[in-house]
Amino acid sequence: MATISYKADGVFYVCCSGLFWRRAQKCTGRIYNICTNLCTDCVVGCTWEVFRVWREKYILHENDTNCVFFLAFQGEGCRTVPLSGHVGFDSLPDQLVNKSVNHGFCFNILCVGETGLGKSTLMDTLFNTKFEGDPASHSQPGVQLKSSTYDLQESNVNLKLTIVSTVGFGDQINKEDSYKPIVEFIDAQFEAYLQEELKIKRVLHNYHDTRIHACLYFIAPTGHSLKSLDLVTMKKLDSKVNIIPIIAKSDAISKSELTKFKIKITSELVSNGVQIYQFPTDDESVAEINGTMNAHLPFAVIGSTEELKIGNKMMKARQYPWGTVQVENEAHCDFVKLREMLIRVNMEDLREQTHTRHYELYRRCKLEEMGFKDTDPDSKPFSLQETYEAKRNEFLGELQKKEEAMRQMFVQRVKEKEAELKEAEKELHEKFDRLKKLHQDEKKKLEDKKKSLDDEVNAFKQRKTAAELLQSQAQQAGGSQTLKRDKERKN
C-alpha cells in the first residue's frame, strides 16, 4: 500500500490516516474512491483542474473498499482534515442547546391592528391559555402600547413571552400620527439594547431582550383592499421589524372572496414596496414548507378560546346558527399554518433576523447620526477611540466657549448693575442736598415769622401796659370823681 503525503500549499491535498486506508465519514468536500494500485505521484501537489481530469479517467467505484479521500481546500487558509476516529465534538450543538435551555428563551410579539379585530383572542388561541386583560374601548385619545410578559413552560423549555398590543389604533378621527407610537416603541427597545451593549460593564448574556421579534399586522376583513392606514403603517415598520400580515376575523369572508382579497393585498404590498417577512428557504429541511407557506401569506385566521364538542372531540370553534367554524381545521382558516410558521418552524429565525438585520440597521443609523464613521474622507479606517477623542475635544471646546460667553455676560451684567447703583446713589445724594436746603429755608422762614411774632407780642405788651397805665390813671381820677360824686350825693 502506498502512502501519500500531502502538500499544504493551499490548493488541495490527498490525505490518509496513519498506515491504514480508512473509510472516513463524509466530509465537506467530496469522496472519491480511487484504486490504490494507481500511481499517485501525479496527484500530489497538482491543482484542482489537473486532478479532476485525472480523476475522471480513473475513478472506479463509489463503494470500493480501498479508498482514498481527498478534500477540496476550504477558504480562509484552512485545510480540511479528516478524522481517524470518533472525537466527540458532534455533541457541541447539544452542549450549546443545553446551555440555552438552562438560560431560557425570550420571544416578543407585537400585535398591530384596529380595536376589535381579535388580537387578544388570537394570542390566547395561539398559546393555548388565557392571558389577562380587558377588551379596550374605542374612545382612546391616542395610540398606546400595552405590553405584558408571561413565563411559559413546555417540557423543559422556559419561554419568556412578551405580547405588546396597540390600544386605540385606528380609532381616532385624524390618524396621521397613529404609527408614531409604534415606531417609537420599537426604537426604544433597540435603544435599550444598544445602551446595554455600549456600557463598559455589561451583562449581555443575562440581558432580558425586549426587542420585538415578530409583528403581526391585523388586516380588517373588508374583502376589498388594504386601507391606507395599513399601508402607511406597514411601510414605516417594514425596516424595523419582521412583519407578518394576517387577515383577522376571516370567517366574515367567503372562500372565493378570500383568494381575491389575498391576491389584492399581496399586489398592493408589492407595488408599494412594503417588505414583509419571508420565511427562510435556504435550509433544505424547511425550505419546502416555508416556500409553500410564503405563497399563502397573508394568513386568514380566526381566533377562539371556546371549546365546542364536534363529533366526539372538543375543539376550539365558533358557533353560528348556520354552522360551526373550527379554528384548527385547515380548510376553514389558516390558523394552523400561522402557528406552524410562527412558533414551530421559524421562531429562531425570527429572533436571528431581528438581531442581525433590524437591530444592526438601527445601530448603524444611530451611530452614524452621532457622527461616528468607520472611515474618514481619505478612507483610512477610523478607530472609535480616535473619533471619540475628537468628539470629546470638540465637546470640551464647546463647553469652554459657552463658559467664556457666560462669564462675559456675567461681567457685563455686573458692570451695568454697578452703574445703575452708582446712579441711584448720586440721585440720593442730590435729593438729600435738596431736602436739606429746603429744610434750612423752612427753618429760616419760621425764624423770621417767629421774630415778627415776637415783635408783635412785644408791641402788644407795650400797648397793654400803656393801656393799663392809662386805665389805672383814669380809674384813679374817676375814683376820685366818683368819690366826689358820692359825697355830693350824700350831702
Partner: protein, 337 residues
C-alpha cells in the same frame, strides 16, 4: 384627536412583571421546537474553537493535540522538521483546520508556542503569549465596535490553554507558577501533566496532590474556575473534577497497535503497550471528554462572557469610555471623566 397625551405614553424599557402562567397550557403549542430550530441553525453556521498549547519543547504537545482531535492538526504535521533549531524567543504559530463530524463543522485553530521555557534566561517568556491573547481580544473588540459589523465576527480568541507540566514528580517549577499566575486571569488554563507514562500510579497521585496544593497556595484559578460555577449542579460536578482529576496526567500517541484484537492508539515499549484511551493507563480519555464532549461550549462561553468582557471593560475604562447615546447624559458623562 390623535395627539398623544404625554404622560400616558408607555414606558417602553420596562415591561410588566412576568406573570407566571405555567401549568395551564391547555394543549401543545410547540415552544419546545425552538431547541430543534436552534440546533439546526448552529449546525449550519459551524463552530470556532481555538486551543493553545504551552510548554517546554519535547513534552509531547503536538502529539497530544493530534491525539485529541484524531487527526494531524499540529505544527508537527504541517512541515515542521524535528531537527529544526529551537527558536531564540517565544514564537506564536497558529494553524487552522476545518474538521467535521456528524454534520457538525468545526474550525479548529491550534496555537503553538515553540521556544517557551527553552532559553537559559526565561524571564518574561510569557509576555509574547499574553500579548497574543490580548491582541485577539483587541481584534474582536475592534470588529464589535464597528458601525457596519459583519454578520458573524470571526472568533480568534483563545478559548482554552493547555499548560504542560513536566513530570518531574517533585513539584511545579517557578516558571510554571509564574506563567499560570499571569495567564489564569486572561484565559482558561487547563494544566496537564505530560508524558505521564514515566510515573507509577502512586507517584502520579502524590504528584497531582502536590501540584493541586501548590496551585491553591499560589492563588491560581485554573479552569473550571470556582467563581464561575452557575448553579449547584455545576458546582458539584466541577468540584469533583477540580479536586480529583485535575491536573490530568496524559499520554499522547498517534500510532496504532493491535491489542486484544482491537486497534488502539498507544505507545509500544519493551515492557508493554501503553493504551492512550485506557483509563487505567492514563487520563487522556478524561481530558478529551472534559474538553471536547462536555465543556467545549462552556470554555467558549467563559472566554466570551468573562475574560473578553474584563478585557473590554478595562480597555474602555482606560480610554475614558465610549460616549453615551443621548445628549443629556453627555453632561453626566462629562462629570465622570
Amino acid at each position: 384627536m390623535s395627539e398623544l397625551v404625554p404622560e400616558s405614553r408607555q414606558k417602553p424599557v420596562v415591561p410588566m412583571k412576568p406573570v407566571g402562567i405555567n401549568a395551564n397550557l391547555l394543549g401543545y403549542i410547540g415552544i419546545d421546537t425552538i431547541i430543534e430550530q436552534m440546533r439546526k441553525k448552529t449546525m449550519k453556521t459551524g463552530f470556532d474553537f481555538n486551543i493553545m498549547v504551552v510548554g517546554q519543547s519535547g513534552l509531547g504537545k503536538s502529539t497530544l493535540v493530534n491525539t485529541l482531535f484524531k487527526s494531524q492538526v499540529s505544527r508537527k504535521s504541517s512541515g515542521w522538521n524535528r531537527e529544526e533549531k529551537i527558536p531564540k524567543t517565544v514564537e506564536i504559530k497558529a494553524i487552522g483546520h476545518v474538521i467535521e463530524e456528524g454534520g457538525v463543522k468545526m474550525k479548529l485553530t491550534v496555537i503553538d508556542t515553540p521556544g517557551f521555557g527553552d532559553q537559559i534566561n526565561n524571564e518574561n517568556c510569557w509576555e509574547p503569549i499574553e500579548k497574543y491573547i490580548n491582541e485577539q481580544y483587541e481584534k474582536f473588540l475592534k470588529e464589535e465596535v464597528n458601525i457596519a459589523r459583519k454578520k458573524r465576527i470571526p472568533d480568534t480568541r483563545v478559548h482554552c490553554c493547555l499548560y504542560f507540566i513536566s513530570p518531574t514528580g517533585h513539584s511545579l517549577r517557578p516558571l510554571d507558577l509564574e506563567f499560570m499566575k499571569h495567564l489564569s486571569k486572561v484565559v482558561n488554563i487547563i494544566p496537564v501533566i505530560a508524558k505521564a507514562d514515566t510515573m507509577t500510579l502512586e507517584e502520579k497521585t502524590e504528584f497531582k496532590q502536590r501540584v493541586r496544593k501548590e496551585l491553591e497556595v499560589n492563588g491560581i484559578e485554573f479552569y473550571p474556575q470556582k467563581e464561575f460555577d452557575e448553579d449547584l449542579e455545576d458546582k458539584t460536578e466541577n468540584d469533583k473534577i477540580r479536586q480529583e482529576s485535575m491536573p490530568f496526567a496524559v499520554v499522547g500517541s498517534d500510532k496504532e497497535y493491535q491489542v486484544n484484537g482491537k486497534r488502539v492508539l498507544g505507545r509500544k515499549t519493551p515492557w508493554g503497550i501503553i493504551e492512550v484511551e485506557n483509563l487505567t493507563h492514563c487520563e487522556f480519555a478524561l481530558l478529551r471528554d472534559f474538553v471536547i464532549r462536555t465543556h467545549l461550549q462552556d470554555l467558549k462561553e467563559v472566554t466570551h462572557n468573562i475574560h473578553y468582557e474584563t478585557y473590554r471593560a478595562k480597555r474602555l475604562n482606560d480610554n475614558g469610555g465610549l460616549p453615551p447615546m443621548t445628549s443629556e447624559t453627555e453632561e453626566n458623562h462629562e462629570s465622570n471623566l
